[in-house]
């Protein structure tokens, strides 16, 4: 069977990977650290919670590191700006490829309700995972992996090992 439409029109994956590797190398050369993503989501969750209950957030054992006295706003942060760049760069790529397609990506037999419910649940579980691991596929697996950090490789193996095993149980979502 031919590749479905959603899998067509992209760069060769090896060339895309090399391009991504060059961007990552440039980041390491300039900054000494790599790319990331989940740290910006953690800060966003802190800022939203702070709008609702400022004193609770400022005294929370985890969030207080974002609200130290005399510290700048949690969004004045390298990774938050980098993820804003991801947003813009992704948008430019989508527009120039004419690939903006509103919808819900799901397997051929999955309902919209099932998919969106599982997207939320998966996001929540993954979000907790990023905090224990102090990073995600970008910051730990890819960037930490390229520096050969032990914890990053432990994380990467755990991510893919678990996902391959769990895939059987959510096959109705994707197949």
């Amino acid at each position: 069977m031919e590749k479905p439409d959603y899998a067509q029109g992209f760069w060769n994956p090896y060339l895309a990977g090399i391009a991504l590797g060059v961007v990552l190398l440039l980041t390491f050369y300039l900054m000494g650290t790599g790319l990331g993503a989940s740290g910006a989501v953690a800060r966003t969750s802190a800022v939203i919670a702070h709008e609702i209950a400022p004193s609770t957030v400022e005294s929370n054992g985890y969030y207080k590191e974002f609200y130290k006295p005399s510290a700048k706003h949690p969004f004045v942060n390298w990774m938050v700006v980098e993820v804003a760049g991801v947003f813009l760069g992704g948008l430019i790529a989508v527009i120039t490829a004419r690939r903006f397609r509103p919808g819900v990506s799901r397997g051929p037999t999955a309902s919209v309700g099932l998919r969106l419910g599982l997207a939320f649940v998966g996001g929540a579980i993954g979000g907790v995972g990023t905090r224990f691991a102090m990073g995600c596929t970008s910051g730990q697996a890819l960037s930490g992996g390229a520096t050969m950090a032990v914890g990053s490789w432990v994380f990467m193996m755990a991510v893919f090992g678990t996902a391959f095993m769990a895939a059987y149980f959510v096959r109705r979502e994707w197949s």
């Binding site: 031919e2 959603y6 899998a7 992209f10 090896y14 895309a16 990977g17 991504l20 590797g21 060059v22 961007v23 190398l25 050369y29 900054m31 000494g32 993503a37 910006a40 989501v41 919670a49 929370n60 985890y62 390298w78 760049g85 991801v86 947003f87 760069g89 948008l91 430019i92 790529a93 490829a97 903006f100 397609r101 799901r106 969106l116 599982l118 997207a119 998966g122 996001g123 579980i125 993954g126 979000g127 995972g129 990023t130 905090r131 224990f132 691991a133 596929t137 970008s138 960037s143 520096t147 050969m148 950090a149 032990v150 990053s152 490789w153 991510v159 895939a167 959510v170 994707w174 197949s175």
Partner: protein, 199 residues
């Protein structure tokens, strides 16, 4: 000038934020061009239909890993600064548990944090819902921090690389990782043949 520039004091904080915007922009662009704005392209690897996640990720990892080693040979990159100053610390058990939770969240939710941003700008409602789920999940993590805060900081092995742990030269470890990646690339062709899209 020999990198890494920022942590050696060559660049101001303001400049680093402009770099963040620039490299983030390139990162987002390449993720979209790799096909990572659609959750099906990200999860099909777990059914062996489309191994692009592995191909992109490992070729990127190997490129950056060898790039840093090569730049250090040329005297353009101080590898010792990377290892001693900016390497991510290893927290063995929290990172293992975090990886298990993250892997579960990845296949159930269909995205990871960076790709969900690209999915959102591609118009994917499931990516927006995944992002909202992550925000809510981190609220739960913060709310229960008094229960698992000690575990979160436990088994701290400090800055530790694979080649230090195995007592190898970094070049040997990098070559071993590259060989593993090449074997994995070879196996992806078999996997995709074994599990076509309509199976």
């Amino acid at each position: 000038m020999s990198g890494p520039l920022y942590i050696q004091g060559y660049l101001s904080y303001g400049t680093s934020l402009w770099i963040a915007l620039g490299v983030g922009l390139l990162f987002g662009f390449v993720l979209e061009r790799a096909g990572f704005g659609d959750s099906r392209n990200l999860t099909n690897i777990f059914y062996f239909r489309d191994m692009r996640v592995l191909k992109v990720m490992f070729s990127a990892l190997v490129t950056a890993m060898f790039g840093m080693v090569a730049l250090s040979w040329l005297g353009l990159f101080d590898y010792a600064t990377l290892v001693e100053v900016s390497l991510l610390n290893t927290y063995l058990w929290p990172q293992l548990v975090g990886g298990i939770l993250f892997g579960l969240g990845f296949v159930v939710g269909g995205y990871c944090p960076g790709t969900s941003v690209v999915g959102m700008v591609s118009g994917k409602l499931d990516a927006v819902v995944f992002l909202l789920g992550m925000v809510a999940g981190i609220w739960v993590f913060a709310a229960g921090f008094s229960l698992w805060g000690n575990f979160y900081m436990s088994s701290d092995l400090g800055k530790l690389t694979l080649w230090q742990a195995f007592g190898l030269h970094k070049e040997i470890a990098a070559a071993a990782i590259a060989v593993m990646a090449l074997i994995a690339f070879g196996l992806t062709g078999l996997a995709e043949k074994w599990a076509p899209y309509d199976k």
